[in-house]
């Protein structure tokens, strides 16, 4: 079991206490391609932050690859994030004054890997995502799809256990969205990479093999979706 959540509770205390996650229980196996679906305010982003060790939870237990993730020091959390988790964000979150290659290299820089080795590895991943010729370009010289692919390369370079994608197609047009989802699918199939996608688009969720519906901080239905026909709007592509 790669991810194990047991009765996770999370309350935000900004003035009015807001109980966001109300006892989440969830298990995700290695190699699964899962989406977490819910409307805004359902707690899906909070859940993703907890899964990505970006945020703490109040009660419950979260085990990642058997390790209990609770009360970690900032340094440990940074280390786990660096080695076990790859992030893909809606807004790409590339560093604007660094080239594509440098952006992809960055996680390895924090691991203390030598410059030469980093460059070779980053180039390899960019090549794999078809961006070899764009390695020395800055993010603002690239299209949204290219930027997202750079971000995916950056997420992959540390060979993480899981990829967490927060609305990965949120800022892309439908054609590019299809491309990115195909890419993630491919990664899941060929590398047996565990991928969790958070989205509110049913079309995107339909591309995944398992859809976890979350509503008002509780997990609702868990839909097996091997046939990719869960959503009437999603069949045959992504509807925007």
């Amino acid at each position: 079991m790669l991810i194990e959540l047991k009765d996770i509770n999370k309350t935000y205390n900004n003035g009015q206490p807001l109980h966001v996650l109300k006892g989440i229980n969830l298990e995700i196996e290695r190699g699964e391609f899962v989406s977490i679906m819910g409307s805004s305010g359902s707690g899906k982003s909070t859940l993703l932050n907890i899964l990505g060790i970006l945020d703490n939870y109040d009660t419950g237990e979260y085990r990642l690859d058997g390790k209990l993730i609770k009360g970690l020091s900032e340094k440990q959390a940074a280390e786990y994030r660096n080695r076990m988790i790859g992030f893909i964000f809606q807004s790409y979150n590339l560093i604007g004054f660094k080239t594509a290659l440098e952006n992809v290299e960055l996680p390895l820089f924090y691991q203390g890997i030598s410059r030469k080795k980093r460059e070779v590895m980053a180039m390899e991943y960019l090549d794999r995502l078809g961006l070899k010729d764009w390695s020395s370009h800055f993010p603002n010289e690239m299209s949204g799809g290219q930027k997202q692919r750079v971000a995916i390369a950056r997420a992959l370079i540390t060979r993480p256990e899981i990829i967490l994608a927060d609305e990965p197609t949120g800022a892309l047009d439908s054609r590019t969205s299809v491309e990115i989802m195909q890419l993630l699918k491919e990664l899941n199939r060929t590398d047996n990479m565990t991928i969790i996608v958070v989205t509110h688009e049913s079309g995107v969720a339909n591309e995944t093999n398992k859809i976890i519906h979350i509503k008002d901080g509780i997990i609702g239905e868990i839909e097996m979706n091997q046939g990719h026909n869960a959503s009437p709007f999603g069949t045959g592509g992504i509807m925007k």
Binding site: E79, R81, N82, F87, F97, P107
Partner: protein, 414 residues
């Protein structure tokens, strides 16, 4: 923290990203250290220039001379002229044991000395051998007058620099050669290169010193002396014994011992004290202004770094999300601050050193540097160290703020 090309590159990247802002921020520090260095160098040079004036002059000297009386005493009216005599020398020496050297001096102004076709008009001073303890000669050639010269009334002289340059334009050692003053030939035994601007009856470079005993006889001057110079023994404050000396002299000439105009005393110790405290004050001001400016610059750096950290919240959040530890962020911001402060500061040091070197070049004559304006290497190194400390301090608040940025903030700031 690793210090390698990558770390440095990261720092350089973020500093050069907003070039004009970094430049302006750095300018504050640059100007601060530039002013501090310039002021230190300038103050030091000024002090040296000032001290040059007192060069070769014993700092605890007092000079007494006779003025008109201003108080009636023992039946004498005021406004009476009088003169000191030889007896005063012995009397002061015997009755005031606190004194170290007591040396009289007689002077004739505007005497023309000549040698072959060269003439020079300077002052002729009759002195004792111990006068060298009052006004230390900087002997370039030969020796000063000695006891034998005085006792035997030898016709020898020590000449000042200007006298030498005028009478011996061909240069070379003039010792053994003769010059003529008022029809008397004197053998030159020494050349005094003292150029101090304190002059006791004529500045040293325009003076011809001859034995007092000889001068007294040659010019029929009787027992009169013009000046009485004396120094106090070590550990004795001159101003404490001045009334005692005045009283000894005054008693012999029927002068009110409290008449300070009659027995006029110039206390150089007091003079030196004034100059000394003046420069202490100037020094204090220099450091106050210099450090103040520098501190203002450092606060500017801190402020700008704070703004920069705020601007970079997303970037820092991303870095944290992909594995940067808080310590890495902290050290990067501090390193940025240090690099900014140190680069600007070192440029300030270099620039001020160049300017001071230029000033020194202007002060150099005949290849001899007259005054040192340049700051010492130690001062420069110390300033560099100070800059580093300031850089750390300036980076502290912004970096703590950066450290507290949570990775979620990166996503929130969309």
């Amino acid at each position: 923290m690793r210090i390698d090309r990558d770390t440095f590159r990261e720092i350089l990247d973020s500093i050069t990203r907003n070039r004009s802002r970094s430049l302006l921020t750095g300018f504050g520090v640059f100007w601060g250290i530039f002013m501090l260095m310039l002021l230190i160098g300038g103050g030091q040079g000024l002090k040296e220039l000032m001290e040059k004036n007192f060069e070769g002059f014993a700092t605890n000297t007092c000079i007494a001379f006779a003025g008109e009386t201003t108080k009636p005493f023992k039946g004498f009216k005021k406004d009476r002229s009088w003169a000191m005599t030889y007896k005063d020398v012995d009397r002061v020496r015997n009755l005031v044991p606190e004194l170290d050297v007591v040396s009289p001096n007689i002077t004739l102004w505007g005497r023309t000395a000549d040698r072959d076709d060269n003439t020079f008009s300077g002052s002729l001073k009759g002195v004792f051998a111990n006068y060298s303890k009052i006004e230390t000669p900087k002997l370039y050639y030969g020796r000063y007058l000695n006891e034998m010269d005085i006792d035997q009334e030898r016709k020898v002289c020590v000449i000042g620099k200007k006298v030498y340059k005028n009478l011996f334009p061909e240069g070379g050692d003039p010792c053994g050669k003769s010059i003529r003053i008022d029809g008397i030939y004197y053998q030159v035994v020494g050349v005094d290169y003292n150029e101090g601007n304190i002059s006791i009856n004529g500045s040293a470079d325009e003076t011809i010193s001859i034995p007092l005993t000889l001068m007294k006889r040659s010019y029929n001057m009787g027992e009169t002396i013009h000046l009485l110079c004396f120094t106090a023994k070590e550990g004795i404050t001159m101003s404490d014994i001045i009334p005692k000396v005045r009283e000894v002299i005054a008693r012999n000439h029927y002068i009110d011992p409290t008449d300070e105009q009659a027995v006029f005393m110039i206390n150089t110790q007091l003079l030196f004290g004034i100059v000394d405290s003046l420069f202490k004050g100037i020094n204090f001001l220099i450091w106050l202004i210099g450090l103040g400016t520098l501190l203002a610059g450092a606060i500017g750096v801190s402020n700008i770094m704070m703004v920069s950290v705020k601007e970079r919240t997303t970037e820092i959040g991303i870095r944290r999300a992909i594995g940067a530890t808080p310590k890495m962020i902290l050290s990067q911001i501090i390193a940025e601050s240090i690099v900014l402060t140190l680069t600007a500061g070192l440029m300030g040091i270099v620039f001020s050193v160049l300017i001071l070197a230029g000033v020194e070049l202007g002060m150099t004559s005949d290849g001899i540097l007259k005054t040192h304006f340049q700051v010492s290497f130690a001062t420069a190194m110390l300033s560099a160290l100070l800059l580093t400390v300031l850089g750390v301090l300036a980076g502290l608040a912004p970096s703590l703020r950066a450290m507290n940025i949570k990775p979620v903030d990166a996503m929130r700031d969309e």
